[in-house]
Symmetry: D2
Subunit: 351 residues, 4 copies
């Protein structure tokens, strides 16, 4: 045994499941020991069950692994990375957590549970304080933590230094989102070639609520949400990976763009999160060019974990506006969940 | 002679010039008699000077026409449709107007001149009242009128009934704009395949000012601008034709989405503009589907002259939000200018 | 009653079904009286059963029509246009034909039946001679006729004048095919943005056989296929509509490109097919530009019924090469089937 | 001094120039000491002269380098990697070679010179034997070697084991080429969104000749070309990087697909080229899936240096057909040239 922590990937065949597997190849702390999938795929080796859609190759270590039922994760794993659809995650995740697994989930099903944190290690590592409360509330041997929806991710990272330095009163966020966010087969090609779809089911609700929880403060047994209003328009565009968000902000005080830039550029991870294997470097990359960030050019900054910000300027209505961009299946999904698990190990919540 | 008004196309080789030519084929009132272009193309037949990029065929009537200097428009034309770049339009348009032509321009050079109207016949046909003032101010035999920039066009049409019914205090507009708006060769393909460019030079300034002038009121010798603040984010996406804009609005009073929808659906052209050959029908098409309007499906509504609106809903920050879409080279450029010229004929400003 | 022939659309909800409905709006001879669809959609009005994906609007006449079982077509229709998947068409089409309907099918299920013609009215209208034989063979009151697969369509139209004038020995055809050919949802967007898929299931086999049957001659009770070898490579590219095919040809005699061009340019429909409502005009459009035909610019030539040919030149290996292009859901599917039905009416096989 | 060989990049601002710079970051043998560019950019630091379009970041080492005249390469460099346009390369490359530089060129200008090799180290490393002859012919202190055009590259690598094992009589190659091959700004976006352009100027001539020279044998002072006929159709598609080619082959003997696969799979670099820093591993990747290779998934195989082959099957006309794919700006341009320079160092033609 190499001393690595054995982990399971729940929903291993989907696009986020694939990204988990790709990012965990050669991970210094974690080793995949179990893959689970839908009934249709149980019993098949991964090379047969999975239609691999990533440009990176399928790691040799998983090729012969056989898809199992979700309960198989309990046998030898300590962490279950969940890439399940929300409707399945709803029941499966609590059951696995009750039986002792650390469920580190990308699914939306339990994000808004009062005692489940939505984690961004760069932003709110102290929210893992909910884990003990959650264990008591539900008599769980293990627990569930979540990462936010992919559009909320980069947005919230960019908001954190602004909120700390200047206070936020109102926010309008308009996204142009990548196709990989819809999974596979996901968006039909006839819907997106030479087109924009100005609607993504359930997405605006998430962007209007998740950042407030993440930017809130632990108060006894729950989070006191940050108190500002968010309005989101979410759109699908013909981009493979990486979500671009146009942000207009009303702050508590008048803030010059240069000061906002300085706050974001200077932002550092809390110490507990700074040296983890998946920690972004830098946390926020400020782009000085007039026309950046752009998905094709900036998606892989900081191995896909960095949040890119550009065009920080005066907003004639709200006060401040800018563009924020992050990789939706790396920082915004699998990579973010892995980073969360690393944080939990560092905090000795997973041992 | 068929009694049609002879017209010139200034800048006939470019993408907007081509659209003028395509839309004027078989126009009931206008007939192309003169094409102008850059020095490099003068003297060449149109089939040689022009790299035609429209799916509609090049009309037979222009194929053998020889590209002339701009001054040639003075010989036999009464209207000059200008598709020139702004830097050329700056001097050429006033010179032609002084010499007697009605210059109906798509260029931005003179839009903000105090005595030049920016016209949308559905919205502000009375702004042609500036024409007589302009003639006196500059001793012009002819005159210049303009149409707005392509993103301001659909946006302003959608705002008009809202402004009339409810008053507007603040507006955030985030666009996802088509490639044809950048002309030809325009945007390099490597910049837009699998990408978004969150910047269009000079565009945000236009969207933040032009609607206010169009929605203003004539007051003696000038326009009193509408008084509300606009903030624009303008983005380029991989779409051939049609600009999509996400709108968040703060109104003077609380307004239910259903009431805003009703105001837009009921909106009619002013009588003087309603029966013109290029009048849109309907002026505004309300889409009830959750995911419309979309460029590929809605760009040709009302022969490309209709403004499409969808997803009218509550904005948690501003009060009201929706999506507005219009065809950028038809309603937003050549088609709009032709509609303007029809209005001027109806008002007997062109005879 | 307006005297039009009542028709049914089998498989009305799919992408080809939609194209049938769009093209039959205001058809001078045919009127839609019945729509059929999958079990899941039976009983629903068309506006609810169908996710309409065409830029042209859904005709008012079908909006309230309720999706019925296939057998309902027998009640009042004389023609059933079939846009069914091949596996369903296999049994349904013979049953409806037996009961008296003229089944004009876009499905591949029966194309290779010995007594079922694959029809291109520009090419082989005399192949309807199989209809009587088919009726006898199977004791059918009605009959089945088919149109070819969409890639074979334009290819075969372009080959006909070449075959007649010069004889063909060998053919290599490499296609770049549009997404609409795969139906809806069809190709996932993640498979085609910034990509080519060099494989379309079952397609190469069709392109290697169907043209030979269409270019063959009736001989008693069957077709004597044309005798030359075809090799096809079929690829999917990021194009909405219109298939482009690179053709290399070995002819029986040395032929100059100019002579091949002349043969194609001069080609006319057989008299029986020339004046039908859907007849292409011209049958073949020769493009003289160095870089045409192109999907975006040429797909709507002749209302989508014309076959475009360009770059006819010497092939250093085979002798002659060129590009052929046609609209895959109009000439290559629904429009082609309607044209076939018009031919059958003209030939009094449908009355 | 780190002992690395100092090199210049001629035409450093263009898309291939950028790729040279990106691939040479941290190269074990070469170090960039000089960048050259057009008159307009001379004197500017690279960060200002260059519109960087690669997803990989601009290496720090070149950011402050000032663009110089081509002659500046003579001062301290031993190799000049040429990414110049062919018309400039025509005169500049011989001048620099005469003065002593090893000009390793991606330009087409001198590929067909009788004493200039077109090199693929996996295929014809012995063609560097022309270097001494070239030096004598032209009294050059240095010399010119070239790499083939990007479409010929992968094609020729795939042909080499086939030719060796079975002999080739005829070849039809139909390409679907990426946009980066046209440089920057290159192909206008309006020409390629929802489109295919079935023409690339000068490309078919190159694909029909360059492979024959590369697959030929040195015979005294020149190359005896391989003797088979090639016909090429070259097309542009909406792909950022990576050229896909459909190949139909007539061999000297009947060959089963399995035997052709085995020959390609077993193919190894000649010993002299096998261990160089840029040597592909494997040389040829055989894909077993029905629908591969694909640009998005396979372009980075072997760091972009591997040639991918799939769908090897019987061709009913020619005998054998398959798909070959390679990265056009890595293996097909800058990466290939760097590999050539490594070969020349290994062969002590550069010291």
């Amino acid at each position: 045994m190499n001393g690595k922590i054995p982990v399971a990937i729940l929903g291993a065949n989907g696009s986020v499941g694939q990204r988990f597997i790709q990012l965990l190849e050669n991970h210094p702390w974690f080793e995949i020991k179990c893959l689970t999938g839908s009934d249709r795929t149980i019993g098949k080796p991964y090379t047969e069950s999975c239609h691999w859609i990533l440009p990176e190759h399928m790691p040799d270590a998983v090729k012969a692994m056989v898809i199992q039922e979700n309960e198989a994760a309990l046998k030898e794993c300590r962490i279950a990375f969940s890439a399940m659809p929300a409707d399945q995650a709803k029941d499966v995740e609590p059951a696995l957590a009750a039986a002792g697994l650390a469920v580190v989930s990308n699914a939306s099903a339990h994000r808004m549970d009062k005692d489940v944190p939505i984690l961004l290690p760069e932003v709110n590592p102290e929210h893992t304080g909910l884990v003990e409360i959650q264990r008591k509330n539900h008599s769980r041997k293990g627990f569930i933590v979540t990462n936010p929806n992919c559009t909320s991710t980069g947005l919230t990272v960019s908001l954190k230094p602004i909120l700390d330095a200047f206070g936020i009163e109102q926010l309008i966020a308009v996204s142009m989102q990548a196709l990989s966010g819809a999974g596979y087969p996901g968006v039909p090609s006839m819907d997106i070639i030479d087109n924009v779809v100005p609607y993504i089911k359930g997405e605006e609700e998430k962007v209007e609520t998740e950042p407030l929880k993440m930017l809130g403060k632990i108060n006894g047994d729950h989070i006191l949400n940050a108190e500002f209003a968010i309005s989101a328009h979410t759109n699908r565009v013909a981009v493979t990976d990486g979500h671009t968000v146009c942000v207009s902000l009303k702050l508590r005080h008048d803030v010059k763009p240069a000061d906002a830039i300085e706050a974001m550029r200077a932002y550092k991870c809390p110490e507990v999160s700074a040296d983890l294997p998946s920690a972004p470097s830098p946390v926020i990359q400020i782009r000085d060019e007039a026309d950046r960030p752009q998905p094709r050019l900036d998606r892989n900054t900081g191995k896909g974990m960095t949040t890119s910000v550009g065009r920080v300027r005066v907003d004639p209505v709200m006060g401040l506006k800018y563009i924020v961009f992050s990789h939706n299946t790396i920082r915004g999904a699998a990579g973010g969940a892995i980073y969360n698990a690393e944080l939990l190990v560092k905090q000795k919540l997973i041992e």
